[in-house]
């Protein structure tokens, strides 16, 4: 039995609780940026794809690993960029401006 398995399961369980707690009070206005931001975070699969590439033997594994890295990179880069774009809108909110002259 994998000696790390127990600690990995513990981490998983704690992370579940954290996941719920951490976004417990999110206003509706932020639902979409939050979804986009967490979308970017699961792009961490890139690390997994890199691990795959590290040990890839033979063309099949290399091809699949290559594809995984491309896809994961799109997830990461695109995810953070789109979230940042959405959140840019919130920056100019510190003082509401009435536009009428």
């Amino acid at each position: 039995m994998n000696p790390h398995l127990v600690s990995e399961i513990s981490i998983f369980v704690l992370a579940v609780f954290l996941g719920f707690e951490v976004i417990a009070k999110v206003p509706t206005i932020l639902h979409t940026p939050l979804m986009s931001g967490s979308n970017a975070i699961h792009g961490v699969i890139l690390v997994g794809a890199m691990a795959i590439m590290a040990g890839a033997h033979g063309p099949l594994e290399q091809a699949l690993g290559f594809l995984a890295v491309v896809m994961a990179t799109i997830n990461v880069v695109g995810g953070y960029a789109v979230t940042d774009r959405m959140l840019e809108m919130f920056r100019s909110r510190t003082g509401p401006r009435r536009g009428a002259p």
Partner: protein
């Protein structure tokens, strides 16, 4: 794959930054910083992963090449996409993430000693990641197609759909159990992958286009879980933490979104089965029902002499990129002493918060954007409810018609205003594909045309009134 303690600590740091960043993302003041904090975590995780590749230089080059391809694709797509198409973009990034997660497990499975037959401990997370990752990939693709309007938005059902879906799920379960308990080889895994792709499609097909945002949120959570599964497969805690964070928070967010729509999640995901849906033909202005249409001049006068106007923006406003014209109209009305507010339904546009983002882009002052609960009582005292490119969010059927797909959804009380003005492109039904009785109400006036055009004409008309 054992990690050095240095690497493990760095991954822990990355995970902490993810947690912190995600937390900040749920607060309006710190949201943007939260995204940057999470991005920093990603950079650290990425940097920590690189050294493992140093003894496989060819693979390192391949990886670098893959990143050089993926990064610009992601960056350009994210920068170029119009805000109106933003939900589909999130769907596509989620889909590729899910696909990557499935692939990682596939490769680990193939690499395991024993030529593709693996022990229980590895097999369970592998099967999990492959199934969930593939479902997310395929499901996101369908969500993209529905939002991009490459497929029709109404739920797609066919006779025997439930047994077919049931059979797919059963086959997946059987294969999964086989893979986990016996030594079946890679072809079983391939079959599992293909079936899971099929399930992803089958799962999203019968869900209405208007519900796609909730589906995307759910698939986002799925991808997170698949990534967490890969964390067990590869033995990397940052994948477990990052993936589980997204899985848990995504599930919670999905529930919050469906609550905002006033629909139970079960009804949303599985409700189309066996129900008699109003066909689009019957919905689209049944031959000969008359509506009261007006000219911009008439409506402009109506608006100019009103005391209070409430603007209800919807997807049509977003599509026509009319948010600036709407703001111009509001400004004009205010110089005439009319009180103007925007009533934002939680699911106006395509996703919660979507309309707020669009209007913020047009520099509409924050305090004019009113959430549904805050403004709903005010419609009674409003002279005009100006509905721009919205339809389902003001459809009284949600209150009165138990058989309707939108029954139970909280709506904006536009029908309580003294006059309702609809700005619409045509009589085509809204995204839910059903008819809206309010359009035929004698107090309602329709102004047909592109939202931006119509609003610009109204600005001129108000100036002249």
């Amino acid at each position: 794959m054992p990690l050095t303690s240095g690497a493990a600590l760095l991954y822990l740091l990355a995970a902490v930054l993810f947690i912190w960043g995600l937390h900040q993302l749920s607060s309006p003041r710190h949201a943007r910083r939260g995204n940057l904090v999470a991005a920093l975590g990603m950079v650290i995780a990425f940097g920590t992963a690189i050294p493992a590749l140093h003894h496989a230089p060819i693979n390192l080059v391949l990886m670098a090449l893959a990143i050089l391809i993926g990064a610009p694709v992601g960056a350009v797509a994210a920068r170029r996409v119009k805000m109106t198409a933003m939900p589909q973009m999130v769907a596509s990034f989620n889909g590729v993430g899910g696909g990557a997660a499935a692939l990682v497990s596939v490769v680990e499975f193939l690499r395991a000693p024993g030529g593709g037959s693996v022990g229980l401990v590895l097999a369970i997370p592998v099967v999990f990641a492959v199934v969930i990752g593939a479902v997310s990939f395929a499901g996101s693709g369908i969500a993209y197609a529905k939002l991009q309007e490459w497929m029709r938005g109404t739920p797609i059902t066919y006779p025997g759909q439930q047994p077919v879906n049931g059979a797919i799920v059963l086959a997946i379960l059987v294969l999964g159990v086989l893979l986990v308990t016996t030594g079946v080889g890679p072809f079983a895994l391939l079959a599992l992958l293909l079936l899971s792709l099929g399930l992803g499609v089958a799962f999203v097909l019968p869900i209405g286009g208007a519900d796609m945002p909730v589906v995307i949120s759910l698939l986002n959570a799925f991808t997170g879980l698949a990534v967490a599964g890969d964390g067990f497969v590869v033995g990397n805690p940052v994948l477990i933490v990052g993936g589980t964070l997204v899985g848990a928070s995504g599930t919670f967010l999905t529930k919050m979104m469906s609550d905002a729509m006033g629909r139970s999640l079960g009804n949303l995901l599985f409700g189309a089965f066996g129900t008699v849906l109003v066909s689009p033909q019957a919905a689209a202005g049944e031959g000969g029902r008359s509506v009261r249409s007006g000219s911009a001049e008439d409506i402009g006068t109506l608006l100019a002499y009103a005391q209070r106007v409430i603007i209800v923006p919807g997807y049509g406003l977003a599509v026509a990129q009319a948010q600036h014209a709407a703001r111009d109209l509001a400004d004009q009305l205010e110089t005439r002493g009319v009180a103007v507010d925007y009533a934002i339904h939680p699911v106006a546009g395509r996703m919660p918060g979507h309309m707020n983002v669009l209007l913020a882009e047009a520099n509409v002052p924050y305090d004019q954007l009113k959430e549904m609960d805050a403004i709903n009582d005010a419609f009674r005292s409003a002279d005009v409810a100006l509905v721009v490119g919205a339809n389902d969010v003001v459809n009284p059927a949600a209150r009165s018609t138990p058989g309707s797909p939108i029954y139970g959804m909280p709506i904006l009380n536009a029908d309580q205003a003294k006059t309702v003005v609809f700005l619409k492109r045509s009589m085509r039904p809204g995204f839910a594909g059903i008819d809206n009785e309010l359009l035929y109400d004698p107090r309602t006036i329709l102004l047909f045309g592109d939202a931006k055009d119509s609003l610009t004409k109204l600005v001129a008309a108000v100036k002249a009134a």
